[in-house]
């Protein structure tokens, strides 16, 4: 429930042509009811922004895809953006990614998509406040609930923020602490040794990201792989690579259903899901098989990077406050 004493309406959406949703780290714990995980598509960017603003790693922010959005501020806010490399401006002055900016009443923020990647994240110190449903503020578009009105934001919507504890540092996050934008094969953990042949075809093929891809799943275009099948539905989750009888793989994403009726070949490791989420339509996608132990190491590595950002936040804050 939103705590009225700790919130104030601060931001108005004045243009929203694309898909803009409130997302946090998602909604675990309700899969047995058929409730998907949802949450941010690029958790690395989102968590990095939260850590550099002094928020909880999973705090709610805006996820923007396509189109140019415009926001107006009603009060003092600290914000930072990152992700798709958008050309954003605050009162017409260009913004740098992973840098905290101070906005005040009357200020205008524009976020312009560049097409380099798919999702831009706009985070605010304190995080967005809206009704929590089943433990999360994430918007679940197919069900029409969560976030603000269960839908993509529209002109006239107002966004409330939770009260921030302290003003974040005003210096940019060092490059070394930012998520890397390298392109390499997406690492997967195999589902079953009995699918080895089909899995080998998958990793030996190259695909392009299909236009038919959204927050529920990414379809991949390329030469059809044999071995696809309809199966008795089994539990699935974000990252699962399904192969329908037609032979064109589908990777399940954040809003994917909890069970699926296509043969599953493997699952994209947690640490690579954000990279996959940001691959633009028409770009290449390739896969690489790794062990569960390697996947665990990659995840720990990612966790350490976020811990480093949190440490940077505390240190920089202390330096700034000792100077004043």
């Amino acid at each position: 429930m939103p705590s009225s004493s700790n919130r104030c309406e601060m931001i108005e959406v004045t243009r929203a042509p694309g898909l803009i949703t409130v997302q946090d780290s998602g909604r675990p714990g309700h899969r047995a009811n058929g409730v998907p995980h949802s949450g941010v598509m690029d958790c690395v960017t989102a968590a990095t922004l939260n850590c550099m603003l002094g928020n909880e790693r999973g705090a709610a922010m805006l996820e923007l895809a396509l189109g140019d959005a415009r926001f107006e501020f009603d009060g003092e806010t600290v914000l930072a953006c990152g992700g798709a490399g958008a050309n954003s401006t605050l009162n017409n002055a260009p913004l740098t990614d992973y840098t905290a900016y101070f906005a005040e009443r009357g200020d205008v923020l524009m976020v312009r998509a560049t097409g380099e990647a798919r999702f831009t994240y706009l985070a605010f110190a304190g995080g967005i406040d809206c009704e929590q449903l089943l433990g999360s503020r994430s918007t679940y578009l197919p069900g029409g609930w969560g976030g603000i009105g269960g839908r993509s934001l529209a002109r006239g919507d107002r966004i409330a923020l939770q009260r921030k504890r302290h003003a974040p540092p005003r210096v940019p996050l060092p490059d070394a602490l930012r998520p890397s934008r390298d392109t390499r094969p997406i690492r997967i953990v195999p589902r079953s040794p009995s699918h080895q042949t089909t899995l080998t075809s998958l990793v030996e093929s190259s695909f392009t990201m299909s236009r038919a891809s959204d927050r529920t799943g990414y379809r991949l275009d390329g030469a059809a792989i044999s071995g696809g099948a309809s199966i008795v539905s089994e539990p699935v989750c974000p990252g699962v690579i399904q192969l329908p009888p037609g032979g064109q793989p589908i990777v399940l994403m954040a809003d994917a259903p909890t069970i699926g009726g296509y043969k599953s070949l493997g699952c994209v490791i947690t640490a690579d899901r954000s990279m996959l989420a940001q691959i633009p339509v028409g770009s290449g996608v390739a896969f690489e098989i790794i062990s569960i132990e390697q996947a665990e190491s990659a995840r720990v590595q990612q966790d350490l990077s976020l811990t480093a950002v949190e440490a940077w936040f505390r240190l920089t804050l202390r330096e700034e406050s000792s100077r004043t």
């Binding site: 714990g29 058929g34 008795v232 989750c237 069970i259």
Partner: protein, 216 residues
């Protein structure tokens, strides 16, 4: 192949396959196993999700490692008796007041060679069991439908099926909790709220529940 088999479902879940087909005993066995795993309340496990012949255990990889979850799940599964010796799964009985006014009712009657009232009688005379939850939040796959009503899914799914629609396809029946695309045949409707994220529990039905349709 000897079953069950435990495989990784990525780095934050394990999936246990008990079989490869759909039948009531298998489904009940899976539901029981899911209940046992849940009851053990292992720290770091966030979700236990049963399906027809498989189940998945999701965990927070920051709290527990894959190997520990796999070993734990294996110990629960291998330590239990066969399905025939298990007591019947506890579940509640839910009555769904149904208006048999679906737009496919005539078509279903036509294809099955039954009269409309016979379709209604047959559909409402069975006590169904919730086999699986999924597709969308709160959607319960109910089985098993009388042999006389079994029809394949629509060739082309409808773009929009109204919330509360009662539908059938193959060996199952179900109720659409929200307005979604759908490929099943619509035979009726209910005013019952199948899912509400502001309610506890959010879904009206859970795996193992019994469901009876009561014609209005």
């Amino acid at each position: 192949m000897s079953l069950p088999v435990i495989d990784p479902l990525g780095d934050s879940a394990v999936i246990v396959t008990f079989g490869y087909d759909v039948n009531r005993d298998m489904n009940e066995l899976v539901a029981r196993r899911a209940e046992s795993i849940r009851a053990a309340q292992i720290a770091g496990v966030t979700d236990v999700v049963p399906s027809y012949a498989s189940l998945a255990v999701f965990f927070n990889p920051g709290d527990i490692r894959f190997e520990a979850v796999r070993d734990f799940v294996w110990s629960v599964i291998s330590g239990e008796k066969e399905t025939s010796q298990l007591s019947v799964l506890a579940g509640k009985l839910v009555r769904i007041a149904t208006r048999y006014d679906g737009e496919d009712l005539d078509w279903v009657a036509d294809r099955t060679g039954l009269a409309r009232h016979e379709v209604v009688e047959i559909h409402s005379s069975v006590e169904y069991r919730v086999l699986v939850m999924g597709f969308v939040p709160g959607f319960a796959y109910l089985g098993e439908l009388d042999e006389r009503l079994r029809l394949p899914r629509r060739d082309a799914p409808r773009k929009r099926v109204a919330a509360g629609s009662v539908a059938i396809a193959e060996f199952q029946t179900g109720i659409y909790p929200s307005s979604t695309p759908g490929g099943w045949h619509l035979i009726g409707s209910t005013a019952e709220s199948m899912f509400d994220p502001r309610r506890y529990p959010p879904a009206l039905l859970a795996v193992g529940d019994a469901v009876v349709f009561e014609p209005l």
